[in-house]
Every structure is written in structure tokens, then in C-alpha cells.
Symmetry: C4
Subunit: 224 residues, 4 copies
């Protein structure tokens, strides 16, 4: 009964992951459509160099959003490596998370367009608010799945579950800070978002010993 059960456990999340991967991949690739190529005629005397340099907030917003979605995907991957079962509530929480992911190109574009203009505060607050919402959905997803081991693999490493609990608990609070700073100083708010993205990435890279990292992935015997 054991092995059969185990193989059943593994397969349940397959199609949810495939669908989620699709949305992550499309959202991250659609970001490039925010980068406008100036037609030769529209340059009107301005050099292409100066046009591209003037677009630096667009490129920065592109990089920030690419990194954010990539890190969200890596985290999604981590969580799902510990999750074995699904139910409909879980599907809809995951759907809410995917809503934020697929919506991401919009606040990115808004920020890129307005960070140097009069409405920088609103655009930055919108962007930080979206990041906050994403952090909240990750917490909901993880809390729902991990409470009483509801959807986790039976052999999941308790220490790793506890580590994720800790990391996730403080994420939303910092995004609340970034959100509030957007009304005081847009650039500090942006910096917090950037630093947090770098922090999440480094947590990912250095946050646990190599051996752990492998152990983390090994149980992920899903096919996709």
C-alpha cells in the first residue's frame, strides 16, 4: 500500500504545477512588451542613445519585475516540492496567487511610465501593494497546505516546514513598510522592493546547506 499511495501523492499536483508554470512563464515573457522600440521617424532629432538612456526606469522596472516573478516561481517550486495533495480550496488560493502573477505586467508598466513624473507616489504604492498582495497569497497558500500537514507529504522534513513558516511570516510586514514608504519617498520604497527581491534570492541560494537543498528537491518526484 505504501509505495502505491506515495506515487499517488506525487501525481496530484502535476497539472496544477503545469498550469502555474505556464502562467509564470507567460507573465515573465510579456514584460518585454512594455519596452517600446522608437520608430526612426518618431525620434525627431533625438539620438537613439539618449532615447534609450532616458528609458532607464522602464528597463529597471523590467529587471525588477523579471527578478520578482522568477523568485516567485522558485518559491512556488519550493513549496510544491513539499506539497503532495490538492483540494479545491487550495486550487482557488493558488488561483488568487496566479491572478497577482499574471497582473504583474500592469503595475510594472505603470511604475515605469510614471516614476519620473507627478504620479510616482501612486504608481509606486500600486507596485508595492501588488508585492504585498503576492506575499499575502503565498502565506495563505502555505498556511492552508501546511496547517496540520493538511496537504504535505507525510514524510516531509519538519525543520524545513518550520523554516518556511519563519521566512514567510515576516515577508508581508516588510512589504507593508515598502507600501507605506511609497507615500514618503518613492525611491526608498523602490529600494526596499529591490533589496527584498535580492534577499529572497539569497535566501534561496545560501539559506540552507547544500545537502538540505538537495533533500528539498529529491522528494519532488513529480513528472513535470
Amino acid at each position: 500500500m505504501g509505495p502505491i499511495n506515495k506515487s499517488r501523492e506525487d501525481k496530484e499536483t502535476g497539472r496544477v504545477e503545469a498550469f502555474s508554470d505556464g502562467i509564470f512563464a507567460i507573465a515573465i515573457t510579456l514584460l518585454v512588451l512594455n519596452l517600446k522600440v522608437p520608430a526612426f521617424e518618431s525620434l525627431a532629432g533625438q539620438s537613439l542613445e539618449s532615447f534609450l538612456f532616458a528609458q532607464w526606469p522602464v528597463f529597471l522596472a523590467y529587471l525588477l519585475s523579471f527578478a520578482t516573478i522568477l523568485i516567485m516561481w522558485v518559491n512556488h517550486h519550493h513549496l510544491f516540492s513539499m506539497i503532495r495533495r490538492i483540494d479545491n480550496t487550495f486550487l482557488f488560493i493558488n488561483g488568487g496567487l496566479l491572478l497577482v502573477v499574471s497582473f504583474a505586467p500592469y503595475p510594472t508598466s505603470l511604475l515605469a511610465e510614471h516614476i519620473q513624473h507627478d504620479y510616482a507616489v501612486l504608481a509606486m504604492a500600486f507596485y508595492a501593494g501588488m508585492s504585498l498582495l503576492a506575499a499575502i497569497f503565498y502565506n495563505l497558500l502555505w498556511n492552508y497546505a501546511s496547517r496540520g500537514n493538511r496537504l504535505l507529504a507525510s514524510n516531509v522534513d519538519k525543520n524545513m516546514v518550520e523554516a518556511v513558516n519563519k521566512q514567510y511570516r515576516f515577508g508581508p510586514h516588510i512589504y507593508v513598510v515598502a507600501f507605506m514608504f511609497s507615500f514618503i519617498n518613492v525611491w526608498i520604497s523602490l529600494l526596499i522592493c529591490l533589496l527584498l527581491a535580492i534577499f529572497w534570492a539569497f535566501i534561496g541560494i545560501f539559506g540552507k546547506p547544500e545537502g538540505k537543498a538537495r533533500a528539498d528537491y529529491q522528494p519532488s518526484q513529480k513528472a513535470v
Copy 2:
């Protein structure tokens, strides 16, 4: 013979699901392209806040369509968890359903653009008509697959098949009502579509006992 046969059964739908997942994921992500970011110059004195608030029908249409496609995907997932074999007729009915799914960004955009203007009736009728068409294709797909257990797993739960039969039978009728109401009162028609989306979601979440829900997913031993 038994297990080999069973494993063969499971694999047949794999690539259809992957292709369908791709289309669902892209259609749901393309919706964000309907949300326009105003260039700073084009605001022309209007504040960004008032611009964004004035766009509320666009955001509402975005949310409604996101929820609709997500719910359609969850239902697609449910049906395919009971389906084991495919044939060409099934592939083309599924193709018709995917046509409606991938077309969804258009009526969404039409509704968002016109619900506050003179052509709200036409735009709402178009939107409700699309929802009706989707419901009809789901019925065709399910009837074709389930009649005489044509494409279902041999060990599928008869009660679950009957439950889906019941739920699906009344869906199109309510969308006919929503369609007709679009000619009387656009907002009532929109409300019916919203309520129906919420209803489908709750059916998904609360419509069957936890144990059932798991049983529903467990047979889905497909790799993707």
C-alpha cells in the same frame, strides 16, 4: 494485464491536457493586455487617480474574465480526472471549447470598453453569449465522453458522473437567462454572470465532501 492497461489509459489524455493547459494559461495571462497604462503626456491635466478610477469597468471585466477562465480550468481538470481515453471527435469538441477560451479576451475587452456607453447591451449580450457557448461546449464534451462510459475510466465513481451530469445540465439554461437579461438590464445580466462564477467556484470548493474531493484527484495519475 490489468495494471498495464490502466497505465495506458492514464497516459492517453496527457498531451491534450498539456495543450489545453497552455491555452488556458495564455488566455488568462493575455487579459492583462486589456489594461491600458496612460502615458504621462496623455493624462493632460486629469489625475492618474481619477483615470484609474474611471477605468473600474476594465478592472471588473478583467477580474470577471480571470475568474471565469480559472473556474473553467478547474472544471476542465475535474472532467479530465475522470476521462481516460480520447478519440478524434473528442479532440475537436475540446478544440471548440479552447476556441471559446482563447477568444475570451475579446468579449472581455468589448464589455470593458462599452459597458458605460451606448452599446452596453450589445457588448453584454456578446459576453453572455460567449459564456453560454462555453457552457454548451462543456456539456458536449462531457456528454460525448460519459455516454455509455465511452471515454471514462472503467473504475470511475458512478455517483460523481451523475453529480456532474446534474450540475452541467442547468448551467446553459442560466446563461440563456443572463443572455436574455442583457437586452433588458445590462447590470442584472452582469450580476448573473458574476453570481454564476461564484456559484461554480463554491460548487468546486464546497460541493462535495473532502474525502470525495481527494478521491476525485487520486485517480489522476497522469504525469502532467
Copy 3:
């Protein structure tokens, strides 16, 4: 040795199919971006009804292209159900086919924009030319894979291989006819493309006995 070898055979095409499925799914979904929603202001007195009716060639081109890509996907699925091994030449022929598939939204859009105007001939020739190119790539792919059973499963049904050979041999010739007719009468050329799409679909649906159809899919034990 036997079963291990067989399982190895099955897996080789997995990632090519996933990548191809992705391109088919995106190309078929991007078609919707050709359908323009008129802004309320731009209607300028014209009713939305008359605007939408005047757009019928756009909708027809959308449907034709959706059907064409869907049928190409079904055929791709069929071929790959018989193919077990891959090599680099095969990957690049498949890449050429994917080039045509992902390019499809362009001639579709060109046809929709110009079929009612002075350059209908050029737009129709472009469209028929693309269909011809697709048919040629399918032939190249199939010939390369099937010659001397180069990449086919060892236990593939010879009759089915022969049936595909026959069907594929005459496809390009009819698209040559459609291409030539585009210079004589655009609408006859379009009709040939439509009829050919319907024909391919019916070949798919009715072209072989049920039992065969199932046998056709059963060997496809790939995971995706």
C-alpha cells in the same frame, strides 16, 4: 532489456512535444490580438453593430486560422504518437514547422486587413503560400522520420504509416492549386483552404475505424 528499451523510446520525444505544444498553444491564442475592439470615441456615429459586421473578414480569418492551427496540432499529435526517437535533423525540421506555425498570425492578419481591398490577391497568395509551406514541412518531417522506420517505434502499424503517406502526399498539391487560384479568384482560393481544413478535420474524425483510432493513441505512453 525489452521493456526498458521501450520505455526509453517513449521518453525521447517528450520535451520536443512540450515545446511544440507551447508554440501551438501560444500561436493559436495570439490570433485573438488581431481582433480589434473599437474605442467608444473612435466609432464616431457608426453603430457598434455595423462596425462588428463590417469586421466579418477578420472574424472569418480568425476562425480559419484557429481551425488550421488546431488541425495542425492534431496531426502533429498523430505523427508523434508513431515517432519514438529523435535526432538533430528531426529537431530542426520540426523547428521549421514551428516557424510556420508561430508565423501564422501574420498572414492571417494580412488577409483579414486586405481581403476586401485592392491587395486581396497578394494577401491571399501570402496566406495560401504559408499553408503550402506548412504542408511541405509536414511532409519533410514525416518522410524523414518514417523512411526506413528511422525514428518510428519498432512495433508501429505498417498500414497506418502507409495511410499517412497517402494522405500527406496529396496535401501540398492542393495547396499549390489554392495558391494559384489566389491570382485568379481570391474567394475560390479561400474556399479551397476552408474545404481543405474541413477535409483534414474529417479525415481526423472519420478517416479510420474507432478501434484503429484508439490503437493509434494507445502506444503514446509519453508522459506529456
Copy 4:
């Protein structure tokens, strides 16, 4: 222990490959959005033929970028057929590579728009710079994975690893040459990029004996 371990090894890269495939597939398909269909009204006396012919740099850039992304995907496929384990550093190097892939439509569009105008040098340098960056990320990815067999399959063919090492070592150098030539003669720089694409493709097709090619793919027992 052996076979279980082996099956675990195979599965680790599954979801990374699926996510990467998604991004490759979307980036390659989004390229078509760079091809503009002229509205009938906007032709203004110019014939459609002359409009399309004048667009040849756009079509050339489209083909070059399609071929480049396709070849990058084939190479990605090759590398991953030898890689069995992943860790977070690897995920982020792969993320950097995907950044370049998903960014590719932008320099392509820039090149197509400006290669016949005053800013051809900048556009070409941008394009060659991107290709160089892609080559560098491939080297980083491969070096990280292959150093001391860190992430490779234990039974990987040493000769093949050495062959890839050799091929990859000289790639970036040639792109440096192409990059520098963009400041001297744009067309020579473009030609180098074209030749290099053809070279990579031929390496792929003819660079190893048939038997090797199969051996290369057979270990790839991943499900997707």
C-alpha cells in the same frame, strides 16, 4: 537503492525544463508581433508589395531571432540531457539565461527598425551584445553544472562533456568579435551572427555521429 536513486536523479530537472520550455516557446512566438500589418488606409498610394519588400530587414531580423532562439532551445535541451540534479544557484543562472531569451524580442525589434537608418551601429551593437550575453550565460550554466560533475548524471559520457566544453569555450569570443565589428561595419557584424547561428545549427546536426546523438538523448528519461 540504485534504480530508485536513478529515477530520483531524472526527475529533479523536470519542472525547470517545463518552465524554461514555456519561456522559450513564448519568446519565439512573440517575435511575430514585431511584424506589422499595414492598414489599407495607411498605405496611402504605396502598393502592398513595395511595403512588404521595404520591410525585409524586419523579416530578416525575425528569421535570425527565430533561428537563434530555436538553436538556444536545442542547446538547452542538450545540456539538460546531461544534467540530473539542480540547486538554487543553478536555478538562478538558468533564470539569467531565461532573462536574455525573453528579452530577445526587444533587440530584434530595435535592429529591424534601425538597421537601415542612422542608428544602425547602436542597434547592431545592442543585438550582438545580447547574443554575447546569452553565450556567457550558457558558459556559466554549463561550467557550474559540469565542474567536478556537480550536477551531472553519474553515468554521463566524459567525451561528450569534454566536447561541449570545447564548443562553448570559443562561442563568446566570436560574439565579442561580432560585437566589435558592429562599430566598424554593421553588415559584417550581422553576417557573423548569421554564420554563427548556422554553425551552431550544423554542430547540432553534423557535430557528432548518429549513434552518439541517440546516446545523448537516451539518458533523458524525464517525463516532459
